[in-house]
């Protein structure tokens, strides 16, 4: 059994949270630049140029890429031969978040649903666990903004709706969202599982690098078809009209009940901030 000290986890996660707020990923920057080549609308191009400039300022001056520094979501893959020494893993993730959001001047966006009173430190965090083989611990952090999360949906289709029903729903969701989720967006699609599982795999799909093709050829085809349809909607960067409404569509699929066809569409804004932390 391998032991990892609580403090090691807390400190590494804390550093990763801070970096994610200031540094746009290479896949995202490449996505902006590809989009700029394809964009036809002058306002669309101007918006994409602003986003590139924004990322440069954020990196240089250490100002967050976006004022919505998100709710903290973690995906944990924990080996069956590893344990945390000196405390509980969820406590380490909450403490890392509390300290990172405080020390790096990030916005605290967690509140009581009824009173709307801010919890003051961006906790509690949201954690999803998977147990895997081995003695490694892998943590993925995602800062999820509210504007794009609000545009996300789960639906239970009829099995007869099939692939066409799935694709129509996803495209319609992006159409209805218009400028709200900060296009160009990234679209995570979860197909199958149960009601909650579909939403979870849709969020996992958002962690795939922008521009990466699905290894499953059938899903890769769906992704390509949906991306084309979404970019024909005309919404464009900032919703001001244009070709680049989405930078990518990622699909994840799992088996489901014989009666069901669960579908989740999790939209991410272009400020797609995540970090991978290995122990």
């Amino acid at each position: 059994m391998r032991s990892i000290p609580y403090n090691t986890i807390k400190e590494k996660v804390k550093a990763a949270i801070m970096e994610a707020a200031f540094i746009a990923g290479e896949d995202l920057m490449a996505g902006f630049k590809r989009g700029l080549e394809q964009e036809e609308s002058p306002l669309g191009k101007e918006t994409l140029n602003q986003l590139i400039e924004n990322a440069e300022i954020a990196r240089k001056e250490r100002i967050p890429l976006c004022q919505d520094t998100g709710l903290a979501v973690f995906f944990v893959e924990m080996g069956d031969e590893v344990k945390v020494e000196g405390g509980l893993l969820p406590d380490a993730l909450n403490e890392a978040t509390r300290e990172a959001y405080g020390e790096a001047y990030l916005r605290k966006s967690a509140c009581n649903p009824f009173t709307r009173k801010n919890t003051g430190d961006n906790t509690p965090v949201i954690i999803h666990y998977d147990i895997v083989k081995g003695d490694k611990l892998h943590i993925t952090f995602c800062a999820k903004g509210g504007g794009s999360e609000n545009m996300s949906r789960v639906t239970m289709l009829r099995p007869s709706d099939g692939k066409k029903g799935i694709e129509d729903f996803v495209v319609q969701r992006v159409w209805e969202a218009q400028a709200n989720p900060c296009p160009p967006v990234i679209v995570g699609v979860g197909i199958g599982g149960t009601f909650e599982r579909a939403a979870l795999i849709a969020k996992k799909a958002l962690l795939e690098p922008i521009g990466k093709k699905n290894p499953d050829p059938e899903l890769a085809e769906m992704e390509e078809r949906m991306l084309k349809r979404i970019n024909n909607l005309g919404i464009g960067p900032g919703g001001l009209g244009g070709r680049i409404t989405a930078l990518d569509v990622h699909v994840k699929m799992e088996p489901c009940h014989i009666a069901s066809l669960p579908l989740a569409v999790n939209i991410n804004c272009h400020s797609s901030r995540h970090a991978e932390i290995d122990f």
Binding site: L51, P64, L65, S109, N232, C269
Partner: protein
Amino acid sequence: MKILKPPVKREDVEALEAGDKVLITGTIYTGRDAAHKRLVDLLDSNKPLPFDVDGSIIFYVGPTPSPPGRPIGAAGPTTSYRMDAYAPRLIEKGLRGMIGKGPRAAEVKDAMKKYGCVYLGATGGAGALMAQAVKKAEVIAFDDLGPEAVRKLEVENFPVIVINDTKGNDLYIENVKKYKRE
């Protein structure tokens, strides 16, 4: 490029058209979800508002905290539809501009036409870039709301684009139509 210097008169906003690029210089106020609820609660109970709404511009933003030596952290627009339930009440009181992102409800657009107010779009997710135009920031009300407190901002050449003018034009609808392919 047009210029707005608050306090803004009705005729100043009536001269603007959807698609006009505008630079704002002067004082604007921040307010988002929780602050809007409180502003309308104050109006309902006939109490004074923390700033003079007549002629003012409200920026829908909850900035990140100001690091030492900076007036503000990241400060880009939040999604506007959540303020739709409250906006007409403020427009009635002379609010001349709202800065945000995303489409507005019909009731808000009607109030804008009736009382003379424009909806100005800022680039969503460009919070570091937009903070460059903010020179001073001071919390003036609802401090307990943290990022949602009302702040008085001094801005210089703050870049926005007119989405909805006072004549009923809508830049989002018109431009998306241009690029939509069946």
